[in-house]
């Protein structure tokens, strides 16, 4: 009975969304946007600030929006990742952690292969972060890639544990560094997170990557450890 009600509710909602969107003169059809009338046009042509130097505008428009025009959202996003990694540590953290055994039988090929894979992924992550302004990607996937390379090490060896405290330190310093960059902008130009020098955007990209990597490694470590009995 409950399932039928839920089914009817869900179907009604779906039909309602589709009907009211397809019959709506304001909502444009699929594949036919008018974003050149809205705020996006400013981001694309970068006529937002008026006096912007070309050096401050990255080739990847999405990166430009993330770290510059809407950098405050990104600060919030970093905060969300930060608070959830402390939250996971609060919920799952224990006084004397011990690795959970995955019961792999590590052989020679696996350990060598995983180390090679670790190197490749780590370098790819760094590459993605450093080229966020010109190529697709950006610092979020880059940071996550770095964290995944460490995840590979966790998976390949049952006794492996990375030095979590270093990642925690990096995460904390990177996140507070992000706020600090914003405050520097406030101090020098009177605007929080002002983008007045090309260096600012690079710094923010690297800081985000460190924060993401640190946060995700912390989460993974907490999921793979338990109380020592």
């Amino acid at each position: 009975m409950k399932k039928i009600l839920a089914f009817i509710f869900a179907i009604t909602l779906g039909v309602m969304i589709i009907l009211s969107l397809s019959n709506n003169e304001l909502f444009t059809d699929f594949g036919d946007t008018n974003h050149y009338d809205g705020i996006s046009s400013g981001y694309i042509t970068s006529e937002v600030g008026g006096d912007e130097e070309p050096a401050l505008v990255p080739v990847n428009i999405v990166t430009g929006i993330l770290v510059d025009y809407r950098g405050f959202d990104t600060l919030g996003e970093v905060t969300v990742l930060f608070v959830s990694s402390i939250g996971v540590a609060l919920l799952l953290g224990v006084a004397s952690p011990k690795r959970i055994n995955l019961n792999f039988k590590p052989n020679f090929m696996l350990s060598v292969g995983s180390r090679a894979l670790f190197g490749v992924m780590f370098l790819t992550g760094i590459y993605i972060v450093l080229h966020a302004k010109t190529s697709p990607g950006g610092s979020f996937p880059g940071g996550a890639m770095i964290a995944s390379s460490i995840l590979i090490l966790y998976l390949s060896n049952d006794t492996f544990r990375t030095d979590v405290s270093k990642f925690k330190l990096g995460k904390s310093l990177a996140a507070s560094g992000f706020v600090l960059v914003g405050l520097i902008g406030l101090l020098f130009t009177g605007e929080f997170l002002a983008n007045f020098h090309p260096f600012i955007m690079d710094t923010i990209l690297v800081l985000i990557a460190i924060d993401v990597a640190g946060g995700i490694v912390g989460i993974i470590d907490n999921f793979l450890t338990e109380e020592r009995v």
């Binding site: 709506n24 809205g38 809407r70 919030g76 969300v80 608070v83 939250g87 405050l183 902008g185 009177g190």
Partner: protein, 459 residues
């Protein structure tokens, strides 16, 4: 002083707080105190993050309404932190982040930025409620909160697809001016309404409240019941004021939801025998009243109503939760005679309750009276009747509660309140009475607010 500091400073110290663990509780105390102080030196107006024009960048706006909201949220937060901060040292960074999130909610004038701050405030609230050691309720809260914010995101993206703008006030002006058929924007508004309705405890979306506030402790009860409730009610008021345009059918749905929230909340509170449940159901009803007042367009009195309710709720949740923590039961029968040994606390609690009821000589009376008069003038007699009926039911159970707490000489429970709690309770009770007897301050607030009403604050 820039208003962004209210968000940036708590964030900065929260980020530092996890490596400087010893200092984190002091950071929390100092920063929340700094925020209250800073409100006195802050200049009203709008700023845009990064220095872009308000059309493109993320705009933060401080006007008299959000200033009242900020005062309420930051003061209540500081009081709660001052009472609790050394009991939950591990939570200090999370509490700081939640403070930043709440301030961001009140300040931001950007739809997507509002979503981000909703998530920040929400996730820190989930984590704070884990202190009650009841993962099931926290999980329920998390799931409903995530559904709510997903609906909100869906609504905002439909609005973006229609108008290409994310700034709330500009979007509101466009909708007001350009859209002739208001039913065309009903769907996104319904989604946004549902999304915020989860956090503001409106009726079909509030099943998380029972687990969270019904099992609260001295930290989560006041924080979720008073601070988060007021913050989200203010956000709701902001959106209703600057963004929402009701078509006939949407207004009907919304009114039905709100009236049902008010009446069912009061009825549940009347039927309950557990003290914390009485409080939580009555706060569901009051959330309904606050949103109704905003939806009908009485922004000034709605703002004052929320501010007053926030302070009164703080006393109620604080007093009851400390008692429940010590007696280990929240049945009304176990707490009989609570105030026999704690007369000062009892006096403060009674003042707060009577003010929520809207009895004369307390501030709640003036607010409720003005709302009813305004409604009767419009005329909206149906809503007047609903609010009067709700007040009647509220009166019966609150008076019953007070009688139980005051008159039972036999086995009065021994509950110790710290001096901070007694002091806070008395100060708030005194303020409520002063504002209630001496009307001038409230009326002057009203006239100043009327002055700025209509003045568009953004550039």
């Amino acid at each position: 002083m820039s208003i962004v500091l209210l968000i940036a400073v708590p964030l900065f110290f929260a980020f530092l707080g996890i490596i400087l663990k010893k200092a984190a509780p002091y950071f929390l105390l100092l920063v929340s105190f700094f925020n209250v102080l800073a409100l006195g030196f802050i200049s009203q107006g709008a700023i845009v993050i990064g220095g872009y024009s308000s059309f493109y960048g993320i705009q933060l706006v401080l006007n008299s309404y959000s200033l009242i909201g900020l005062y309420v949220v930051n003061t209540l937060f500081f009081v709660i932190v001052a009472i609790n901060c050394f009991k939950h040292k591990k939570l200090s960074p999370i509490l700081l982040i939640s403070l930043a999130g709440l301030n961001g909610l009140l300040l931001t004038n950007d739809l997507f930025n509002l979503f981000v701050f909703m998530e920040i405030a929400g996730i820190s609230a989930y984590l704070i409620t884990t202190t009650t050691k009841d993962p099931k309720s926290t999980f329920n809260y998390l799931v409903l909160g995530t559904i709510g914010s997903s609906f909100y995101l869906l609504g905002l993206i439909i609005l973006y697809a229609m108008f290409g703008v994310l700034n709330i006030r500009i979007l509101g002006n466009i909708i007001e001016g350009v859209v002739t058929n208001k039913a065309a924007v009903a769907l996104p508004f319904l989604f946004i309404f549902i999304g915020l309705g989860v956090e503001t405890k409106l009726l079909p979306f509030n099943s998380w409240v029972k687990g969270i506030l019904g099992k609260s402790n001295a930290l989560t009860g006041p924080l979720v019941g008073a601070v988060y409730a007021s913050a989200f009610a203010f956000v709701f008021g902001n959106l209703l004021r600057y963004l929402f345009v009701f078509s006939e059918s949407l207004l009907l749905i919304v009114s039905i939801l709100l009236v049902a929230t008010i009446l069912i909340g009061e009825a549940m509170a009347y039927a309950s025998t557990k003290v914390r449940e009485i409080l939580l159901f009555s706060s569901i009803a009051q959330a309904g009243v606050a949103v109704l007042v905003f939806a009908l367009g009485y922004y000034t009195w709605g703002t004052i109503l929320i501010a007053l309710n926030g302070f009164s709720k703080l006393i109620l949740y604080l007093v009851v939760n400390i008692a429940v923590d010590q007696v280990k039961s929240d049945e009304l029968s176990a707490l009989k005679g609570l105030f026999v040994n704690n007369k000062l606390i009892g006096a403060g609690f009674s003042v707060a309750t009577l003010s929520i009821l809207g009895l004369p000589i307390f501030a709640g009376f003036i607010v409720k009276m003005n709302i009813l008069v305004a409604m009767a003038n419009t005329p909206k007699f149906f809503f007047v009747g609903v609010i009067l009926l709700a007040s009647l039911i509220e009166g019966i159970y609150f008076i019953k509660l007070l009688i139980n707490f005051w008159f039972e000489q036999d086995q009065a429970p021994r509950v110790k309140y710290s001096y901070v709690v007694i002091y806070v309770t008395l100060v708030i009770a005194l303020l409520i009475t002063v504002f209630g007897v001496y009307l001038e301050p409230l009326n002057s607030i009203h006239s100043t607010l009327n002055l700025v009403k209509g003045v568009v604050m953004h550039g």
